[in-house]
Symmetry: none
Subunit: 418 residues, 2 copies
């Protein structure tokens, strides 16, 4: 069952923005057993977009189109689709009342450009009409078109939640398609490739996928088959084999983020957490609080960017900083103890390091990071060297620190440092 993807936007054909939408859509469609035969990107350009839509009508069974659905004058996808697919524009009452609701809620003025968004090709059906993010589908000559906004987060959400199930439900392929995901942290691509090579022969028709999401890596295990029990039992076995090989590097077997996994384990163990952040500057705190309900286990933290803040808020001794430096195991240790005691939590977590690009030295090059964890029983510290730019060093530092909480509560060893 084959289809194609059309992405619209001047930013794509001018090279200003990478076309992540088509990449994501192609990956998801392929993993679901569908075939993508063509990806076309065009500018906000009536002629080229119209051509692309007509060509798709003549050669594909399903077509995903992204971009050009907003309210500015260069958002012309509805008009172009109406012309190219011969479905005149009509006022869509469902869409209009959605826009009116939006205008009412935000107490803004209704404008012509907003009203324009309610004019949709005849026969269009809204995708996710109750949600904040919508698109529409349109069936012409038995070809299913899915028109989605160009914002990557929104596109991904709509593809996964509505478009893919709709396409899969429509075609007689092997009816059951299941995918498992294993998210790993601390195992790099070459080591995962080795694991794949060593087991691929044992997994028969199972399809393995690898997706880097810095600093994580995601492994997918997919299979299409005739019925749920047989597909599931083959996938169970494949997942077990891979799990054994990756061990505690796997932090979750579902779509959760590390901070959700950590939050879950903290709650299960009835433990509370506080953090003392230097080089991460608040990144651990903001990730922990991205999870709804995190106030149940996360008490807060101190962003002790200056030495004085480390001394005032965390009771790090001035002497420790003077003797060993702010980036040292000793300072990290006192930060973790200090925040745990000041915030009255079970666990105190601390990170201090050099995110760069300046501030490195021969002894302590950019990317040197100390992590410490203080619990009721014991204090742990470890030194790491992370590579990459400032933001990447911060991301790895925060991820490693969160991973420490997970491994500590699971009784697994920490990833070793240097």
């Amino acid at each position: 069952m084959h289809g194609e993807i059309i992405t619209i936007g001047n930013e794509l054909v001018s090279g200003r923005t990478q076309d992540l939408n088509s990449w994501y859509a192609a990956g998801r469609l392929t993993a679901s057993g569908l075939k993508v035969t063509r990806v076309t990107s065009v500018g906000d350009d009536e002629k080229r977009t119209g051509e692309a839509l007509k060509r798709a009508l003549n050669s594909s069974r399903f077509v995903i189109v992204t971009g050009g659905l907003g309210s500015t004058t260069d958002d012309m996808t509805c008009e172009i689709a109406a012309n190219a697919l011969d479905c005149p524009l009509c006022l869509d009452h469902q869409m209009l009342s959605k826009i009116e609701e939006y205008v009412r809620d935000r107490k803004i003025q209704m404008t012509e450009s907003l009203k324009k968004m309610a004019r949709m090709p005849k026969g269009a059906r809204m995708i996710n009409p109750k949600g904040a993010t919508c698109g529409f589908s349109l069936v012409t000559e038995d070809v299913h078109f899915y028109f989605l906004p160009g914002v990557p987060d929104q596109t991904r959400y709509l593809i996964d939640t509505f478009v893919l199930p709709d396409i899969l439900g429509r075609y007689e392929t092997l009816p059951v398609m299941r995918q498992r995901i294993i998210k790993v942290y601390g195992l790099d691509e070459p080591r995962i490739a080795e694991i794949f090579n060593s087991i691929e022969r044992r997994l028969e028709e199972v399809v393995l996928g690898f997706y880097p999401h810095f600093p994580e890596n995601h492994i997918t295990i997919s299979l299409r088959g005739r019925d749920e029990p047989s597909v599931s039992s083959i996938l169970d076995r494949a997942e077990r084999i891979i799990s054994e090989m990756v061990g505690p590097y796997a932090f979750t077997h579902d779509s959760r983020e590390m901070e959700e996994v950590v939050g879950h384990i903290l709650q299960k163990n009835e433990k509370t957490l506080s953090v003392a952040e230097s080089c991460t500057g608040g990144l651990i705190g903001t990730r922990l609080t991205d999870v709804a309900g995190s106030s149940r286990y996360f008490q807060g933290g101190v962003v002790s960017y200056s030495n004085q803040a480390k001394i005032d808020f965390l009771r790090v001794s001035r002497k420790t900083i003077e003797s060993y430096g702010a980036v040292s195991a000793e300072t990290a240790r006192e930060m973790a103890m200090g925040v745990r005691s000041a915030m009255h939590t079970d666990i105190g977590l601390a990170v201090t390091g050099i995110a760069g690009p300046d501030g490195g030295s021969r002894d302590k090059p950019v990317g040197t990071v100390h992590i410490a964890l203080s619990s009721e029983k014991k204090i742990f510290t470890e030194k790491y060297r992370f590579w990459g730019k400032r933001k990447q060093v911060k991301l790895n530092s925060a991820m490693m620190a969160l991973d420490w909480v997970r491994r500590y509560l699971n009784g697994d060893p920490f990833i070793s440092g240097i």
Copy 2:
């Protein structure tokens, strides 16, 4: 002068690999004043590739094609091009002797599949015949095709060194292309659309673009022309007109992030900053510290997620929290004063709110956020209502708080709340 890009490879249409070649080529061509009208990716598929080449022949002046030039059986670009562009395959002696040299140097056996690589469409001219990395060009019906390997490093090298100079030497384009960017915060898409509508007639050939980057919006102003001074003076005028309409909603006229702009203004004014974060959980701190050198003005902060942390670290009075609640102007005010005094900074910034999805009430619905700024002279507070999911509420809260520092130091009024 317009052209297009065709990239070939199963790894592209299956989503396994991001198509960095077309992105790079599009960016380089656009920056050189050429226009890319379409990017097409197809699999290693004779039919689709042939169609794409024929279509390009009928609609473009130049075409860059990458992929499918190797020696494996799925590398069929030469054959497909020969058929589609009606240039029969011939043995190319220059290519053959290159392959023979390669075989001799490496002391490997000449194979049929290696020999196959010497069969090229009639009229093809090798690109970089003396180098290790080659491609070929082919002119049919006055359309210039450039066939390049799919390996990104090689493609980039050949584009920059041979293809781009060749195209530019061939066409009389308006040589100068310049683009300005204005990043705005707090002006939504409909209002920007209205501004565009009201000024587009006054801007003649200038091209305006609009790009949402939640929670910011970016406006681009582009122009192509004969020489730098005339292009610049028209763009100056357009930028001035738009600047007047957007006023202090524009936070930068370059690629900087809000936190870089804020950091710059803090340094210029020799002011230091500390933050007290409740619902943002550390997001303001991590954004400020994404900027290299931020330790010069950012002292740190307190993530006071629990009430106890607000009382212990920020000296918020228990009575204030009990009387007005943790999410209130009064608490925000004491947080800002508290963090400013505890961290010994010129400015103390505080955010407290309800990020959701739980915790809202009739009086204080999800998205209610109080911001406070305490300076040596005065304390400001304001109440906002942000929309969207938890992360979006956090993003808007952090952005608004950073915007306060910018506007405060610039002497501009804050964006009004509710």
